[in-house]
């Protein structure tokens, strides 16, 4: 371990802690949100330093990107009504002091636990390595997401679907873009959209052997959709075709799992020979659904407030 990288790590870690502190204490929520996005970007650097490029991509695209966009958008809606001003700097009072002490105690205990972990820990890296040839892909993270622990991912896609249902339930009204979309944005969208679709497709395909995969690809696709929405506002109402696309990824994943179970295997047991193609299929379906999910989460379901959804 060279001294330079150690300094880099120390600075990066310190910066992360500092940003976290600042964004929680700034009274201006807009600035706090911007810091949150910066925090996310720096965090993805940390993931790279920790040899977790898949996580880094996801953090940049989803953790910082989608979340940041969502928070900024929500802030804009709050601002339009005023409650954003209700944010107050945190004054230390007795309950907060007690809370702070408790949390510090927790931190100390956490540090002690981390430091006292037994050395020589190998995790599951050797088990993973041994199982990789049968997984149908080369990237161990993808193998884990779609094969070893594919069941987790199935339920995770259910969570995405549920978030859309929740947003629809709430009739969250969309905000028109702050300013009428200028020609620049229009041009930008036209120029950016095709390559974004290509990048998404690449990420999906690359997930098999390199960092990337359905979630990262979906985030890129969704970013395209959101840009498009900013340029030419549209809405994704609770309509039949939208619901079909939203449910598509989950349905495909579940049906693949069930079919395999009825063919004599276990639930979600991908046969070695077809694992690669099955994973690609599931990922494609999932990516389309997830991309639309992110767009819906951002856009809401526009003119559905009176319940005029068509179904």
């Amino acid at each position: 371990m060279s001294g330079d990288t150690l300094v880099l790590d120390l600075v990066l870690a310190g910066l992360l802690v500092f940003l976290a502190w600042r964004l929680l204490t700034l009274s201006d929520l807009f600035k706090a949100t911007v810091l949150f996005i910066v925090f996310g970007v720096l965090l993805s650097l940390a993931w790279v330093r920790l040899n977790a490029p898949d996580v880094a991509l996801a953090e940049a695209a989803i953790g910082a990107g989608v979340t940041g966009a969502l928070v900024l958008d929500a802030l804009r809606r709050l601002d339009a009504r005023g409650p954003a001003d209700e944010a107050q700097p945190l004054r230390l009072n007795l309950p907060r002091l007690v809370g702070a002490l408790l949390v510090m105690g927790l931190g100390a205990f956490l540090l002690w636990s981390v430091l006292s972990l037994p050395p020589g820990w190998r995790g599951l890296s050797s088990e993973t390595a041994a199982a990789m040839p049968r997984s149908g892909v080369v990237n161990p993270v993808t193998a884990s997401l779609l094969n070893f622990r594919g069941y987790d991912t199935l339920l995770e896609i259910a969570v995405l679907m549920l978030a859309v249902l929740g947003v629809w339930t709430l009739n969250a009204e969309p905000m028109p873009p702050a300013e009428p979309a200028g020609p620049i944005l229009d041009v930008l969208v036209k120029a950016l959209l095709p390559p974004m679709v290509v990048v998404a497709g690449y990420l999906l395909w690359a997930g098999g052997h390199a960092p990337g995969g359905a979630f990262q690809g979906a985030a890129v696709l969704a970013a395209g959709g959101i840009l498009l929405h900013l340029a030419r506002p549209f809405n994704v109402a609770n309509r039949g075709v939208v619901r079909l696309v939203i449910g598509f990824g989950f349905a495909v994943f579940l049906l693949v799992g069930l079919t395999l179970a009825t063919l004599g295997g276990r639930f979600l047991e991908l046969p070695e020979r077809h694992a690669g193609i099955l994973i690609l299929m599931i990922e494609t379906a999932a990516m389309i659904s997830i991309a639309l999910t992110f767009v819906v989460l951002f856009v809401g379901n526009a003119r559905d407030n009176a319940g005029r959804d068509t179904s």
Binding site: G123, F148, R149, L155, T169, L170, L258, R266
Partner: protein, 485 residues
């Protein structure tokens, strides 16, 4: 059918139903919902029979096996919770059909429509699927994902009611999210120590490291917040009290049991080797406090649904008294029976509240004169479920409490026994206060009737809570055959 296929059916039916209901949309959602409920409950009951005959088993999803893959474990404890979810879930589904039909008629007469109300079906089925996944899971991280499925669908369902339910849902979400994160910290500490997420493997490898204790503490804190045990109960009454009736029934009867179930798994199984006497006593003491505090609060409520919601706070407390008594024979049977009959009677009570709301247009307890004469079936359901909740014989609540009481007294722990008895009296006080109004003469002759399906389902559920009096022996046999520990 094999044990495995019963299990696959139990797991997949609600998930599949949910996505189909979503895609099919408003017109077909309720039909799909009922069909799914029938299949799902049949599968879960079949699974319970299969476990009682063939014993417990493990199921490696994806065929990889722990620690790399995710193992499900299907034992008696899981089978009981699944069957409970199946039976009560079916009744809630039937009730919901009547409930939303009533809402539609109401909306039609005022020339509006019910908006996104049909989203109840995909969210409810997903909630059901999430609970089933959680009960089956043998993997710490998979449990987290299942918890999130349960949590988010529950929040969406609460939000269906609009109005003050929104803030309640938001509070629930924030607390639930914090709880999940604490749970994850625990999971990662355990993984960092033992390189496995599987409950069974953890149980074998566990030792008293500082990180293990911290993990246990954080996971417990997170789960306590989710299961609304005193003093982390404050989010529950507004959330359950403001939701739509079938939603309240599902949350109060079923969802609160998930946290309890996981804590039983953790403290009576995985962490048992840590020497957990103080922890179990602590959990029991919180339970006792919940029984008393929830009871006193329920006594002071003016709205029926809020009262029933506070009653849930108290009844959760009873379940937690299992922990200090767990070493006594019969206590697990008793606590499980208590959980099951609470699910039935609490669902029935919320259904009654929904029916009352449909007829009276409000649920202020002081103005419910004569609901016995206006809606005799609902009054009967209310009375029967009260009997079980109070723990009067004959009822599942009584049989469960009897077992806990016997366990406490056999262990010489008379203070737990005293709390159990005292809690019963408190329960009687707040439930019978409402029930007395049934016997007054009605002040206004209301012409609206609650849909028959609603009244009948609540009565059936309440009847089942009473019949659970005779479930101790089969439950005992099932636990014996399915090796709950």
């Amino acid at each position: 059918m094999t044990q495995e296929s019963w299990m696959e059916g139990t797991l997949a039916a609600p998930l599949l139903g949910a996505v189909l209901a979503l895609i099919a949309g408003r017109s077909a959602a309720s039909a799909i919902g009922i069909l799914t409920a029938l299949v799902g409950s049949a599968a879960s009951i079949g699974l319970a029979f299969a476990v009682s005959r063939g014993g417990s088993f493990r199921y490696a999803v994806g065929g990889w096996g722990a620690p790399l893959g995710i193992d499900l474990r299907v034992d008696a404890l899981a089978a009981v919770m699944l069957a409970m979810t199946g039976v009560v879930g079916l009744c809630i589904s039937v009730y919901a059909v009547g409930y939303f039909r009533g809402k539609e008629a109401e909306a039609a007469s005022s020339r509006t429509n019910t908006g996104p109300a049909w989203l109840f079906w995909p969210m409810w089925l997903m909630l059901w699927g999430g609970m089933n996944a959680l009960y089956l899971s043998g993997d710490l991280f998979n449990i987290y994902v299942a918890l999130e499925v349960v949590g988010i669908s529950g929040i969406g369902l609460i939000a269906l009611a609009g109005g003050s339910a929104i803030a309640a849902a938001l509070r629930y979400l924030l607390l639930g999210l914090a709880g999940s994160l604490l749970y994850i910290v625990g999971v990662e500490l355990l993984y960092a120590g033992y390189a496995t997420l599987d409950l069974e493997q953890l149980r074998q490898r566990i030792d008293a490291q500082p990180s293990t204790w911290l993990a246990a503490a954080l996971m417990t804190a997170g789960l306590l917040a989710k299961s609304a045990l005193f003093p982390l109960h404050f989010w529950l009454p507004p959330a359950h009290g403001h939701a739509l009736a079938p939603v309240s029934a599902a949350l109060s009867a079923l969802v609160v049991k998930t946290g309890f179930y996981l804590l039983v798994r953790l403290w009576l199984d995985v962490f048992a080797a840590l020497g957990t006497e103080h922890v179990t006593t602590f959990l029991g003491a919180l339970g006792a406090a919940a029984v008393l505090w929830g009871g006193v609060q329920a006594l002071q409520q003016e709205r029926l649904k809020m009262m029933v919601a506070y009653s849930t706070v108290a009844q959760i407390g009873y379940l937690f008294m299992l922990f200090p008594l767990a070493s006594m024979s019969g206590s697990l049977t008793g606590a499980l029976l208590l959980a099951v009959s609470h699910a039935m009677s609490k669902a029935a009570l919320f259904m009654c509240a929904g029916s009352v709301l449909a007829v009276y247009g409000h649920d202020r307890i002081q103005s419910l004169q004569g609901f016995g004469a206006l809606m005799p079936m609902t009054a009967a359901a209310f009375a029967l479920s009260s009997i079980s909740l109070i723990g009067l014989p004959p009822s599942g609540g009584f049989a469960g409490k009897w077992m806990l009481l016997s366990a406490a007294l056999a262990g010489g722990a008379w203070w737990w026994a005293a709390i159990i008895v005292l809690g019963g009296l408190l329960t009687a006080a707040y439930l019978l206060r409402v029930l007395a109004f049934a016997f007054l003469e009605p002040v206004v002759a209301s012409s609206t009737r609650a849909p028959r399906a609603m009244e009948l389902t609540s009565l059936i559920l309440a009847g089942m809570a009473i019949a659970m009096n005779f479930a101790l022996l089969p439950l005992h046999d099932l636990l014996h055959a399915g090796g709950a520990r």
